[in-house]
Structure formats: structure tokens, C-alpha cells
């Protein structure tokens, strides 16, 4: 009996030890399992959300209004004594310039998504995002829309967002700051190679320099321009040529009020400006100058391309010479700032004749042998270009108190677009240019 009790006690002890041991193991495993890492992640980012506007609303917004302050200056077109000044994305200022010494701001035409314009006869052609709008300007007091080519700018997009059939077009990017706080297991808090577009918009670094207005503008050369060196619209005889993405879109305007969309010629994704001269179009791009033959106006044909380093390059042409300014900068990239003179006697084989260093040249204009160059912060420079080799040596005038973007030399009246406004000069004596007037820009934004 005692032996039995002893064996029983021993078994109970063994069982107890086993239970204690197993309980200990279980306890340790539970404790270790609970010893983990947890992360509270706070994610803050600047987020640009798109604002859509329906096509119906956009297409019923064109109207003539009272004059508005000039806040930004875009393309300019001269028609008789009228000056049409584009307010990028918003519309067109109508200015009576019968006395260049005292221009009079008379109206504003509200055209959402307008960045370029051209005039023939009494019809003003302006873009409105994806449409081409025709306005009758025969009576300045009653400018009104008379026709519209819908969806003609099929390449229009902002940051890769094209027309949304349901929501319309993105007409603004609104900055929003988002803060998200969440728990994570610390394994993968971030994805270093995140996606390009997010469902609701575009994600940026918190310190990113983002210009919503520039993002809405079509194409690369959205800066101020004229029916000259920086324009994206141009009229050659009975055809209107417009840059649309990497294409040249041709529109037959023989019937001024009833234009017909013709062919589309693909040139290069980085084209910026278009300049007509005789039977040719000179198209500036970030990597070169393309020369098109428009002897068959409905089917422009590329003759040649003059390649250069990757920069911005407006171009003007006079006789056998093309004058190209190359400039660097954030949007233009590159490190080149110079004026190039190119021999275009043989359009199939343009040849570089001379390179003249510049500060940061933008638009330029030429009238006979007088060359006007807007050299950024160094202002307006006027040269005698009769000898292409000696252009820097024959500087006729230098106005360095204006941050100049572009010029139109027109009938001895020089219209210059600067950071502070639109300036007019009398250049009947190129060596003694006289200031006539200034239309001030109400803020510092170019």
C-alpha cells in the first residue's frame, strides 16, 4: 500500500512538473509573441485635386464684358488699331491702340481656356481648351461668338488628364494638404517607387514648386507671345495652323466664318512656336527648328530639321536667315543661352552661320535689318543685323530696366511684353527708340 502511494505521489509530482513546464513554455511563447514592433505612421503630403468643369458650362461662358485689370500677359495680336492681349486661360483684353502713346482698355472677352489667338478679316480665332472659337470683331462693342469647332484640339490634356466624357475638363488644380495617421506593422511604411497618378489627383512633394495655371496651359510654349516669335497659332493665306501637342493642325479658313478642319501633321512632341514665312512654316521645338513646306497648304510637308541642344527656341525669319534664340531655365532645361543665325537659302539643308552669346534670350522680332531681342532680366536689346557676323558689335540700343519676354515690331511701333506690363516704343529711328506707353500688369506674375 505504501509503495502504491509512493508511486502515485511520484506520478502526481511528475504530472505537476510537466504541467508547470508546459505552462511555462506556453507563457514564454505568449510573452514573446506579444513582444512585437508597432508603428504609428503620420503621412503628410500636398495633394493637387483636379477641378472639373462641364463642356456645357465652358461652351456657354464666352461673353464680352467690361475691361478687367491686366494680371497676366499672354499672346498679342494686332489688327488695325486694335490690340488683342490674351490673358492666359481666361480670355482676351481688347485695347484701342489708335494712339500708341495712350492705349485705351475697352473690353474683355471671357474665353475659358484661351491661350492663343489669330485674326483674319473680322474674325478672331481663339482656342478654348479643346475647341476653336470664332468671334466676330467687326463691331468692337458687340464682339460675339459666331461659330465653334468642337474637339479640334484632341491632344489637349493637363498632366496627362484628357477630356472626361462624364465630368468634362480639368480647369484648375486645387492644393490640398492631407494628413493621414494609421497603425502599421512597421514592415513597409512606404513604397519608394509610388505610382504616377493617384485616383483623386496628383501627389506632390510638400515643398514642390507647382504652378496650377501652367499645368492647365496647353503645350510647352505657354509663355507670352505674339503673332510672331512665340505664337502657337499662325495664319498663312487661307489656312490657320495651330500647334496641338506634337501636331500641326490645319484649318481651312477660306470661308472665314465657316472653317473646315483639314489634316494633322505630326512633327515632334516638344514643338513650341510657329512662324510663317512665304511658303514655309518654321516651327521651334526644344530640340531644333523644323521647316515645313505649305505650298500644298492642307498637307504641310516637313523639308528639314535643324537640330540643337535641348532648350527653348523661338524663331523668326527674314529673307535667307532664320534667327533663333536658345535659352535655358526650369521649363526649358539645358545650359545654353545664345542667338543663332541660320542660313536657310537651301531649306533642305539649313546651316548654322553664327552663334552670339546672350544672357537668357526669350522672344525676338525683326523688321528689315533691325533685330530686337528680349534678353530676360537684361532687358531689350536692339541690333543692326545687316551683317550677321557682327550683330553683337552693332548694338543700337539696350534697355536694361525691363524684364522682357517678347516683341512685335510693327509699322515702326514696337510692342514689347515685359514682366511688368506691355510697353510700346517708336522705333522709326532704331538708334533712338522712344518710349510711348505702358499697360501695367497689376501683379508680379509673368
Amino acid at each position: 500500500m505504501e509503495a502504491l502511494n509512493a508511486r502515485l505521489k511520484k506520478r502526481i509530482h511528475v504530472s505537476l512538473y510537466a504541467i508547470i513546464f508546459l505552462t511555462g513554455l506556453l507563457g514564454i511563447s505568449v510573452i514573446l509573441e506579444s513582444c512585437t514592433d508597432t508603428c504609428e505612421v503620420t503621412h503628410e503630403y500636398v495633394y493637387y485635386a483636379p477641378v472639373y468643369t462641364s463642356l456645357t458650362e465652358l461652351r456657354t461662358s464666352v461673353e464680352l464684358t467690361d475691361p478687367k485689370p491686366v494680371e497676366t500677359v499672354g499672346k498679342i495680336y494686332i489688327k488695325d488699331h486694335w490690340l488683342f492681349v490674351n490673358a492666359p486661360g481666361k480670355g482676351i483684353h481688347v485695347i484701342d491702340n489708335s494712339n500708341p502713346a495712350a492705349p485705351r482698355h475697352v473690353h474683355f472677352i471671357n474665353i475659358p481656356g484661351s491661350y492663343d489667338l489669330a485674326v483674319k478679316g473680322n474674325i478672331l480665332y481663339a482656342d478654348s481648351y479643346i475647341d476653336l472659337v470664332l468671334l466676330d470683331i467687326s463691331n468692337i462693342e458687340n464682339i460675339h461668338e459666331i461659330n465653334r469647332l468642337e474637339n479640334v484640339f484632341s491632344n489637349y490634356n493637363t498632366l496627362g488628364f484628357y477630356l472626361d466624357a462624364g465630368k468634362g475638363l480639368i480647369t484648375e488644380w486645387v492644393e490640398q494638404t492631407e494628413v493621414k495617421v494609421y497603425e502599421s506593422d512597421c514592415d513597409a511604411n512606404i513604397q519608394p517607387w509610388g505610382g504616377i497618378f493617384y485616383e483623386d489627383g496628383f501627389l506632390l512633394r510638400a515643398d514642390a514648386a507647382f504652378n496650377s495655371a501652367a499645368a492647365i496651359a496647353p503645350g510647352n510654349g505657354s509663355g507670352p507671345g505674339v503673332g510672331g516669335s512665340m505664337a502657337r497659332f499662325t495664319i498663312n493665306e487661307n489656312h490657320l495652323y495651330m500647334l496641338d501637342g506634337g501636331d500641326v493642325q490645319t484649318v481651312d479658313i477660306t470661308q472665314l466664318t465657316d472653317p473646315v478642319v483639314k489634316g494633322r501633321t505630326t512633327i515632334s512632341w516638344d514643338i513650341e512656336t510657329i512662324f510663317p514665312y512665304k511658303q514655309n512654316l518654321f516651327i521651334g521645338s526644344r530640340t531644333g527648328m523644323h521647316i515645313l513646306d505649305v505650298s500644298n497648304p492642307e498637307q504641310p510637308e516637313r523639308i528639314s530639321t535643324y537640330a540643337h541642344v535641348r532648350v527653348c527656341d523661338p524663331v523668326v525669319v527674314q529673307d535667307s536667315y532664320a534667327y533663333v534664340t536658345l535659352r535655358s531655365g526650369t521649363e526649358c532645361e539645358g545650359f545654353t543661352n545664345q542667338l543663332e543665325v541660320i542660313n536657310i537659302e537651301d531649306l533642305t539643308n539649313p546651316q548654322l552661320l553664327a552663334i552670339h552669346p546672350m544672357h537668357n534670350p526669350h522672344g525676338l522680332g525683326i523688321d528689315n535689318s533691325t533685330l530686337f531681342v528680349c534678353d530676360g532680366a537684361q532687358g531689350l536689346k536692339v541690333y543692326d543685323a545687316s551683317d550677321y557676323k557682327k550683330i553683337p558689335e552693332k548694338q543700337l540700343a539696350h534697355y536694361n530696366n525691363i524684364d522682357a519676354f517678347d516683341v512685335i515690331p510693327y509699322n515702326n511701333n514696337l510692342i514689347m511684353i515685359g514682366k511688368d506690363g506691355i510697353f510700346q516704343y517708336d522705333y522709326s529711328d532704331p538708334a533712338n527708340i522712344k518710349f510711348l506707353s505702358k499697360i501695367a500688369v497689376v501683379n508680379d506674375n509673368p
Partner: protein, 199 residues
């Protein structure tokens, strides 16, 4: 499954109380009332969940004074956490649970700020900026004393809270990259150490 820290601390207190009850019952040695210098050098492991890098190492050093059953010290540790190296600089208070002057259980509580360094990996494409951290470390130990020297076995719950930012290494002027994450990371480990020290 995560056990709240309060439960773990309570368990340690219960263990300590139990240990004290089991302590030797001897006459109090009046020499223990003197203020004496002591130090403690220990090393061991940080035991945690496998997904967080499994088990890593920890080494500590404290210097302080002992009075009666109480001790106060300042210390420095080097704790490895897979992709983090952490150096806590802390204060520590201890309480002897047994009445034996030579051997017995003790509880110790350490807390203080930490210097944090991330161990960068090649081609990770993530930039870490450490902001620092803090440590709390309640523990239960057993001391075996011989002459001037003591040996220690210590087990405890080490809690580190560190703060840092993560951002992508590749970051264009403006672009589609998620920007910056501010992270508060809590790291919980069971710490088991062996060591020695003077007094």
C-alpha cells in the same frame, strides 16, 4: 496577440513579491546601511517576435550607489534591433527583495532617452532620419555576491519608443512620390542578461 504592458509589469511585481517572500531571513547587517558604490556590466539577448528580426543582442553598464535595500544608478546600453542600433542613456533605481547581504532577488526600473541610429541597407531607396527615442525597462534579477564581486541574472521587459521619418531616396522636383512619413515605433522585447559587477 499583444499583452498590455500594464499586465506584464503587474506580473513582474507579483514575481518580485513572491521572490521576496522566498528570500532568506537573516539578521540585518548594519554594514549594509553604508552608502556604497556599485557597478553592473551585463550582456544578453532581446527576445521578440520573429517578424521583427527575431532575437538580437543587448549590453548594458550602470554605475551607482547602494543604500540599505535601495540602489540608484546611471547607465548606458547598446541595444540592437535588427535594423536599428539604439543607445539608451538612463537612470535606474533598484530594490533588494531579500535580506541576505550576499545573494537575493532584486527589482530594478530603468528609464531614459535613447540615441537612435538606423542601419542603412544598400539599394533600399528609403532615407531614414532619426529623431531619438526613450526607453523603459522594468526587470527582475538575482544577485550572487562573493567578496567585492557580484554576478547577475536579470530578466525584464524592455520597451523602446523611437521617432524617425522615412522618405523615398528618389525625389524629383515635383512628381508622384509619396513624400514623408513621420513614424513613432514601439519596440517591445523580453530582455535576459547575465553579468557581473563590483559590490
Amino acid at each position: 496577440m499583444t499583452i498590455p504592458r500594464s499586465v506584464i509589469c503587474l506580473a513582474l511585481v507579483i514575481l518580485a513579491t513572491t521572490a521576496r517572500a522566498q528570500g532568506d531571513s537573516v539578521r540585518i547587517d548594519t554594514s549594509r546601511f553604508a552608502l556604497t558604490y556599485f557597478n553592473q556590466f551585463t550582456a544578453g539577448g532581446l527576445l521578440g517576435k520573429r517578424e521583427n528580426g527575431g532575437h538580437t543582442v543587448s549590453a548594458s553598464m550602470i554605475h551607482g550607489v547602494r543604500w540599505k535595500w535601495l540602489s540608484m544608478a546611471a547607465g548606458l546600453s547598446l541595444d540592437s534591433y535588427h535594423e536599428w542600433n539604439i543607445v539608451p542613456v538612463y537612470g535606474s533605481i533598484g530594490l533588494d527583495l531579500g535580506r541576505s547581504p550576499n545573494s537575493g532577488f532584486f527589482v530594478q526600473f530603468s528609464a531614459g532617452p535613447s540615441i537612435v541610429r538606423h542601419i542603412d541597407r544598400e539599394f533600399a531607396f528609403v532615407v531614414f532620419k532619426e529623431e531619438g527615442g526613450r526607453m523603459t525597462y522594468p526587470s527582475l534579477g538575482y544577485r550572487i555576491r562573493s567578496e567585492k564581486w557580484s554576478m547577475y541574472v536579470i530578466a525584464g521587459y524592455k520597451f523602446q519608443r523611437i521617432r524617425y521619418t522615412e522618405s523615398p531616396e528618389w525625389s524629383p522636383e515635383w512628381g508622384p512620390v509619396p513624400y514623408k512619413f513621420n513614424v513613432v515605433r514601439d519596440m517591445e522585447r523580453i530582455c535576459i542578461q547575465l553579468g557581473f559587477g563590483l559590490h
